[in-house]
Amino acid sequence: MSDTGSRPRAGRGEAARGALLVGPPFLYALLLLAVPLGAIGLFSFWTQDYLTLDTTLTLKNYREAFTEPLYMQLLLRSLMISGAVTVATVLLAFPVAYYVSFHVRPERKAMWIFLITIPFWTSYLIRVFLWKVILGFNGVINTTLQGIGIIDEPLRFILYNANAVVITLAHAFAPFAILPIFVALEKIDRSLLEASRDLGETHVTTFLRVTLPLAMPGVVAAVLIVFIPTIGDYVTPRLVGGPNGLMIANMIQTQFLKLNNAPMGAALAVLAMAMVGAVSLVFLALTRRYLRGRG
């Protein structure tokens, strides 16, 4: 067995060693992620009355979720907010990723990426709270604008509503959008762009016909990695959203921790995941068709 392949190979001994090695992290994910996710699914078909759990399988929670207007309203609003956050984040992030990949000198790129990621790692709670300070009635924006005489009355539309949630989340997820797009742009063979220019395309058409399609995998990754987690955020809606900016995660949290109705919370969690999952799949199918149409 001195011949350990120089490349990953499918030999039986090799496969066994690989499986053995991946065993611990796989078991961990299986027991603490896959099983609990399954449990949530099962739970959503149970019912709870105060502290007594009824394990008869029933669709009662789902029926309630679809008939109670509040739940549907929260689910739809969460989808809209997540969608708006995703569009805003990815559109704002693309030029930055493009700039760093195409216009920053190679030895300075790591520095730029580092600068972009730092705010992301710093206390999430406090960052969200600080947006309240920036957007608030006596906040930075209002006092500054009043100070230089642009407005007389503080702007009210920027705090305690969905706008504030979108701004705050677009800020929180910025690096998640920039990094995948940056990686995709870095992989583009620069000679393709030259070839396109030589063949008579302008800067703009080269971007639209060469750069953008090649960057699409990064954009798709960015969209999914922003869109899916955003639906589960409850800190931002609670702190800056006001009553009309609350999202489904706030309701899930209330069901679990305040109302003691875990099965209802589980059903809402399943529904929220099903909705983001469905939207993500439609999005993936559309981009695949777009790319095939180009190729």
Partner: protein
């Protein structure tokens, strides 16, 4: 040129909230709004006098260190297996391990909570560790994947040919070369765990972690300046940790002769 201005404005947007932290941490007024009232270090002094805060910090540190170590050990196994071996079901297995990266944290939190409560297990620091390991492993794997990928397999083979065992060649050759990745993974996992709120909020039981404690304080307007002071220290700590992680990662990249592609992800 226009693009450059945009990029700089974007950075200002990214840093705006953090820049405000020290301003209000040293501001001599209990209301977090402009205009400022003068300089004080009172809020930092108060930080030293809150036992509940000290308990939360200690709790968070224990959780963060445990999560970082366990997540990195699991990350080493997964990254090594993914870069070196082919095994049945590889794609699905790696997919499951990386799944928490895109899963909303609240889903991870409530699903763990349901199982723990059903099993009748008490909540506490260790349950938070269980959750944090889950979300740290994908980051650890991502960092370590690139460390293992840049490794020349023939080095290890040469060691085995020269009479080392598989384990000793791993320890003597592979481990030192991926060490920067391991340290980087430890620091990043530590930072993630220290800052994580949603999972901790659900699974912490009666001993709050630092973010859970902070969340409680945000409800009391008069305590906000102290929170700002604490936030300033936290930001300082994570910037230092990240800078060290980045420095180690770059040195490691240089040592294995890798082109520096940048970024912690």
């Amino acid at each position: 040129m226009g693009l450059r201005i945009y990029a700089v404005l974007y950075l200002i947007f990214l840093y705006a909230p953090i820049a405000l932290l020290p301003i209000f941490a040293f501001n001599d007024g209990t209301i977090i709004a402009f205009p400022l009232r003068g300089f004080t270090t009172e809020w930092f002094r108060q930080l030293t006098e809150i036992p509940a805060l000290h308990g939360a910090v200690l709790n968070s540190l224990i959780i963060a260190v445990s999560s970082a170590v366990i997540a990195t050990l699991l990350g080493i196994c997964a990254a090594r297996a993914a870069t070196r071996f082919v095994f049945p079901g590889k794609k699905g297995i790696m997919g499951l391990i990386m799944l928490p990266l895109v899963l909303p944290e609240i889903i991870v939190a409530v699903s763990l909570l349901v199982v723990l409560l059903q099993l009748g297990l008490p909540l506490g620091a260790w349950t938070v560790v269980l959750g944090h390991v889950l979300i740290c492993v994908p980051f650890s794997v991502a960092i370590l994947n690139s460390a293992f990928q840049s490794l020349d397999v023939s080095l290890e083979e040469a060691a085995i040919d020269l009479g080392e065992t598989r384990w000793s060649s791993f320890r003597l050759i592979t481990l030192p070369l991926v060490m920067p990745g391991i340290i980087s993974s430890l620091l990043i996992s530590f930072t993630i765990s220290l800052d994580e709120f949603i999972i901790a909020f659900f699974l912490t039981g009666t001993d709050p972690t630092l973010p859970v404690y902070l969340w409680g304080q945000l409800r009391f307007p008069q305590k906000i300046p102290v929170v700002m002071a604490l936030g300033t220290l936290l930001v300082l700590a994570s910037v230092i940790l990240l800078a060290v992680a980045e420095y180690v990662r770059r040195r490691g990249a240089a040592r294995t002769g890798q082109r520096d592609t940048g970024g912690l992800m």
